[in-house]
């Protein structure tokens, strides 16, 4: 039922259509990334046949500027260096292809196939630091689930930030989803508990919980999140079925720290990368995929309700390189 978190294999026709649309959109949206990244790479390889230290240094610069991070960039460069040493890579063109394949592998490895989930309600907990776009992503997710004919309930468990509840309420109306809310300042665990009760009696298909933005280093707020998780687990064993970490693509290497600390607190099952419609970014995804082996489920590429896409490593890297 929820296989479309992954690829929709059962509907090849529709998929192809969506893919090409997505492909084009993605290409347009990250055109700038491509320009800055691929053009630089091309410029680098232009007129160069031999692989030398200068070339590798410039390559490192490009990778780091794309936010891949020092360790991932160094790792990739080292592998290339090894290959060159063993004469497995000799010309600049082969190097480019190799790099493309390597990044693709890093991105693809954690995208594991999930088993079909029949739980009802299917509970999704959405977490992240302040300002990454949790609420907007939830609005988009709700729209997506509604489009698939599901009963969707949104839960306003961000009781801290001013007008966070109102923000989610507007999205729930736009998407045509139910909303469970309490007063601002009330205990998020209590809100979630009541919502689960309501969802169970209303036969809700999908329940999406919006939590307050919190910096991953704030012990108390992370404890609050763990409590929310405990309450859900107690009320409905096996839930939450999906814990989505929302990451801002503009974020640099701190995204890795965010992913690590949220993961150790509640165990992330997937990530959403938002604001990919800006300039020169996406590189941090490679670092995170490589380091944490958590799949990236969706990407956000705009402010409209439809601007949420499944993360497709192939399309992503293709749009980056082709």
């Amino acid at each position: 039922m929820f296989k479309w978190f992954l690829k929709k294999k059962e509907e090849p026709q529709e998929k192809a259509e969506e893919e090409s649309g997505l492909f084009q959109r993605l290409k347009d949206q990250i055109a700038r990334t491509r320009e800055s990244f691929v053009k630089q790479v091309d410029r680098l390889f232009l007129g160069k046949k031999e692989i030398d230290a200068d070339l590798l240094d410039s390559l490192e610069e490009i990778l780091i500027t794309a936010d891949l991070g020092v360790s991932t960039a160094t790792e990739l460069i080292e592998r290339i260096r090894e290959k060159v040493k063993r004469k497995e890579l000799s010309d600049a063109f082969a190097l480019k292809n190799y790099l493309r394949e390597e990044i693709l592998t890093l991105l693809r490895s954690p995208q594991k196939e999930g088993e079909e989930i029949t739980a009802s309600p299917f509970v999704i907990l959405v977490i992240g630091v302040n300002g990454t776009g949790k609420t907007t992503t939830i609005g988009k997710l709700a729209h997506r689930f509604k489009g698939l004919g599901q009963n969707v309930m949104l839960v306003a468990a961000d009781t801290f930030r001013a007008a966070a509840i109102e923000q989610l309420e507007i999205w729930s109306k736009r998407a045509g989803a139910d909303l469970i809310k309490q007063k601002s300042g009330s205990d998020p665990s209590a809100v979630v508990y009541d919502a689960l009760e309501a969802a169970q009696s209303r036969k809700t298909d999908v329940m999406i919980i919006d939590t307050a933005g919190r910096l991953h280093t704030k012990v108390n707020l992370m404890e609050e999140l763990k409590k929310v998780q405990r309450v859900i687990q107690k009320k409905m064993p096996g839930a939450p079925h999906e814990i989505l970490l929302v990451l801002d693509a503009t974020t640099g290497q701190n995204a890795i720290s965010q992913a690590k600390l949220f993961n150790s607190a509640v165990g992330i099952t997937g990530m959403v990368l938002t604001k990919l419609d800006g300039t020169a970014k996406g590189g941090v995804v490679v670092g995170i995929s490589n380091e944490l082996k958590i799949p990236i489920r969706f990407i956000g590429i705009g402010e409209k309700m439809e601007d949420l896409r499944e993360f497709d490593p192939d399309a992503f890297v293709s749009a980056l390189f082709d």
Binding site: R32, E61, I64, T65, A66, D67, G69, V70, S71, V129, N130, G131, T132, G133, T135, G139, F160, R161, A162, A163, A164, E166, Q167, E169, I170, W171, L215, H216, T217, K218, V219, N220, D248, T250, T251, G252, Q253, N254, A255, S257, K275, D277, G278, T279, A280, K281, G283, V284, E303
Partner: protein, 442 residues
């Protein structure tokens, strides 16, 4: 804030200290590490390159080679260059220009403009201004409500915008209203937008042209990566920024964006956001921040905070008590209450020089709720017990535990820590920080 970079440079310079004299090769090693550390901290690649070159130029000269303590000399150069890069003296809001003074907050989505608008309003009211908050974000759902709620919490006026008004109209009408009601400082919260969104960037240009603001401040997330340079550059080109506010500095982001943004815009970083509460806005001190990066601690900020929150009279009394060694649990509770006013324990520890180097304190995340528990335990004691902890026997401990909703173990732990603390104070009296370090390592 910058701890990770601090630790990194600490380690490098510890290595450097090992050499009697710096050779060209040593400097290269040190600078290579500086470069990596800065890159890991998300400082833009080109900014790092320039920075390292500048330091190198200065370092290979006689300054370093002839110095008696070459490591220190290099730290000094790196520190000075970092300070220079982050820019001159601290700067407050500019109040010159057309009356009423207006301040535009601009930036990407989710950088923290609305929260910052509230914080800025509170800060300016503290300086005797009469701020008027103007919600001009008609796009994000409930953005207007958010600012209006903040205004309400602060008991401050806000313009009653509605989503179907045009941002330009909102701003112009708000300026007229501000003039009528004698609000002297108008703070405009604009919608978050991508720097490449030409339509929305033009909207900002229109507002700027119409109201001629004294300040156009870019609100930027301290966690921003390499793209910080592009964002800052584009906003600066389009609008002519007058300053920067860096938000979410209370996380573990290394904050390289601060260096990058400053380097490309050459505009001062005026404030930093250090928490979700509305008073969590601090001035940006480039020199102190550089000290922080280099592991010298942020002593001045701590002193200033202590001055603002500590009751001077109580401090004198406390000092007397420490001298007389009559520090009681009552005083301890007073201390806790004062500390709570100064900020979170993590912030305070980060500001004390040397403390971030002590091994046993590294990775320590003080639990704020522990403070609440300690206070509860002390509150459950009788006055006599507080003044003389030695009379607290088993049955008293049980009663205190029950009264405070804790366990006897918790009470024991507190008493043990208190005795430890008394010892520490005696040592502190005798010989400063070195003794504290011994206490922790011992």
């Amino acid at each position: 804030m910058f701890e990770s970079l601090t630790e990194r440079l600490d380690r490098i310079f510890k290595k450097l200290r090992g050499y009697g004299k710096l050779t060209e090769q040593n400097i290269q090693d040190g600078l290579r590490e500086v470069r990596l550390a800065l890159l890991e901290a998300d400082v833009n690649y080109k900014v790092v390159k320039d920075f390292v070159n500048t330091v190198h130029e200065r370092a290979v000269g006689q300054e370093v080679l002839d110095s008696l303590t070459p490591g220190q000399q290099l730290i000094k150069i790196v520190h000075e260059e970092l300070t220079a890069l982050m820019g001159g003296q601290k700067q407050d809001i500019n109040f010159s220009g057309k009356w009423p003074v207006s301040i535009m907050l601009v930036g990407l989505q989710g950088s923290g403009k609305t929260t910052t608008a509230g914080k800025l309003a509170l800060h300016l009211r503290g300086k005797g201004r009469r701020p008027y908050l103007v919600p001009a974000d008609i796009y994000r759902p409930a953005a207007i409500e958010q600012l209006q709620k903040l205004a309400n919490d602060l008991d401050m006026p806000a313009y009653p915008s509605v989503p179907d008004m045009k941002p330009l109209d909102i701003c112009q009408r708000a300026m007229i209203l501000a003039r009528e009601k004698a609000y002297d400082t108008v703070i405009i919260d604009t919608a978050g937008r991508l720097h490449i969104d030409t339509v929305l960037m033009d909207e900002l240009k229109g507002i700027e042209a119409a109201i001629d603001p004294s300040e156009i401040i870019l609100v930027a997330d301290a966690m921003t990566g390499q793209d910080a340079v592009n964002i800052a550059e584009k906003f600066n080109q389009t609008l002519g920024l007058t300053g920067i506010i860096l938000t979410k500095m209370d996380g573990d982001a290394r904050g390289g964006a601060a260096l990058s943004i400053k380097a490309v815009t050459q505009k001062p970083i005026k404030f930093v956001g250090v928490g979700e509460k509305l008073d969590a806005l601090e001035p940006f001190y480039p020199d102190r921040m550089a000290s922080r990066i280099l592991g010298m601690g942020d002593v001045l900020t701590l002193i200033e905070k202590a001055q603002a929150t500590f009751d001077a009279k109580k401090a004198v009394e406390l000092e007397k008590k420490i001298r007389k060694e009559s520090f009681t649990l009552e005083d301890f509770r007073d201390q806790l209450q004062q500390i709570k006013k100064m900020g979170t324990l993590e912030q305070i520890i980060g500001m004390i020089p040397g403390l971030n180097k002590i091994k046993s304190l590294q990775g320590l995340r003080p639990d704020e709720s522990e403070l609440v528990r300690i206070e509860a335990i002390i509150n459950s004691m009788t006055r006599v017990e507080r003044r003389n902890y030695t009379i607290i026997n088993g049955s008293r401990r049980r009663r205190i535990a029950q009264g405070s909703g804790t366990s006897v173990q918790d009470v024991n732990k507190l008493l043990k820590n208190f005795v430890h603390m008394q010892k520490m104070m005696k040592r502190l009296k005798k010989g400063g920080l070195r003794n504290i370090q011994n206490l922790f390592s011992g």
